[in-house]
Subunit: 200 residues, 2 copies
């Protein structure tokens, strides 16, 4: 069954020169495909992927190696939004440019199992942050075309995948909401400090 899954036609490549353009299994053997599949079986998912289902999803993904130091997603980029990426190995730094600062603010560092770029893939809006490989990174990409094809060809698994993606986005939104609460407290404390220091 897996042979059949992995034998399907290659999904359209993301428009990026560092994409190897070959399938995970073909390039790196089934171990890589299984690793990707395991990362897709997130324990928090409402509807759990079976290993076979996760491998089915992986069969729609293409492998990509990103050399250390490469910025492969740029904040504000409107053109290159048609893919998301599952990190298999290595670390990615996510950064935001803040107008008043000279250097970008590191939002987070993501490791293996992280999903990157899923928002842009879904809504096609400009990328919300820049992503740079802080080590050599090995990952699996899913293009919008491949996602649509997957949902068309196996809607059950497609629905589960979308559920898993929603969960990842929800997780990030919760983190973000916690940070906003922290900032609300911080700015209040700073305002009190300013009021105290202000000459009366």
């Amino acid at each position: 069954m897996l042979e059949k899954l992995f034998g399907r036609s290659k999904p359209a490549d993301p428009p990026d020169s560092v994409l190897t353009g070959e399938r995970l299994r073909a390039v790196e053997g089934s171990a890589s495909a299984e690793m990707a599949a395991q990362y897709l079986c997130a324990p928090t998912a409402l509807m759990q992927f079976t290993m076979d289902e996760a491998l089915f999803v992986v069969s729609y993904m293409a492998p990509r190696k990103i050399p250390m130091g490469t910025t492969f997603i740029r904040e504000g980029d409107k053109r290159d939004t048609g893919f998301m990426l599952l990190v298999l190995d290595g670390e990615v730094t996510v950064e935001n440019v803040v107008v008043s600062r000279t250097s970008p603010v590191t939002v987070t560092v993501l490791g293996p199992g992280s999903l990157i770029g899923e928002m842009g893939l879904l809504d096609g809006e400009p990328r919300s942050a820049s992503c740079t490989a802080s080590t050599d990174v090995r990952c699996a990409t899913l293009t919008r075309d491949a996602l649509e094809k997957l949902i068309d060809e196996n809607p059950q698994i497609g629905a589960k995948l979308m559920m898993a993606v929603s969960l990842r986005i929800a997780e990030r939104l919760r983190d973000s909401a916690d940070k906003l609460k922290m900032y609300a407290q911080l700015t209040q404390a700073m305002q009190q400090e300013i009021d105290r220091l202000m000459p009366t």
Copy 2:
């Protein structure tokens, strides 16, 4: 066909006393069901719902009337997370309790077409904010059981629904990221002000 869709068994009720426990069409006629369906056909969706598909989703939802002043989702609530809600009419105030403040911080005010509670529905984590009806509110609820049943019975439409829900969450995450950037600038400006005022 719609008669058949609306004739299906009622989804499990959210455990809340203000739920009317009757189906949209039965209570308020097809106009309400069609309004709910129109709100589900978000123009930003990657895979657009047809009206029939949206009405199919609506057939899994239950109507609910929430009197003005009712707090129907409480921040931190871990038990009552099994439903999300589509606002059809009225306004909902979303608030966060911030430790150092005496009154909660209003995060946003949501009107017709807004989806509420979808994160808790997906991940079962405690509610991230409190929601209070600032007018009488008419809405349609979807329970976790009904969502699973829908995906099971029609995975194509289920996948599209999950895509639409992901998009809504992504939209909120983008808003939240913008606010975080604003806060990063604000705290920097405040820090400069404190440095300036600080006696040397």
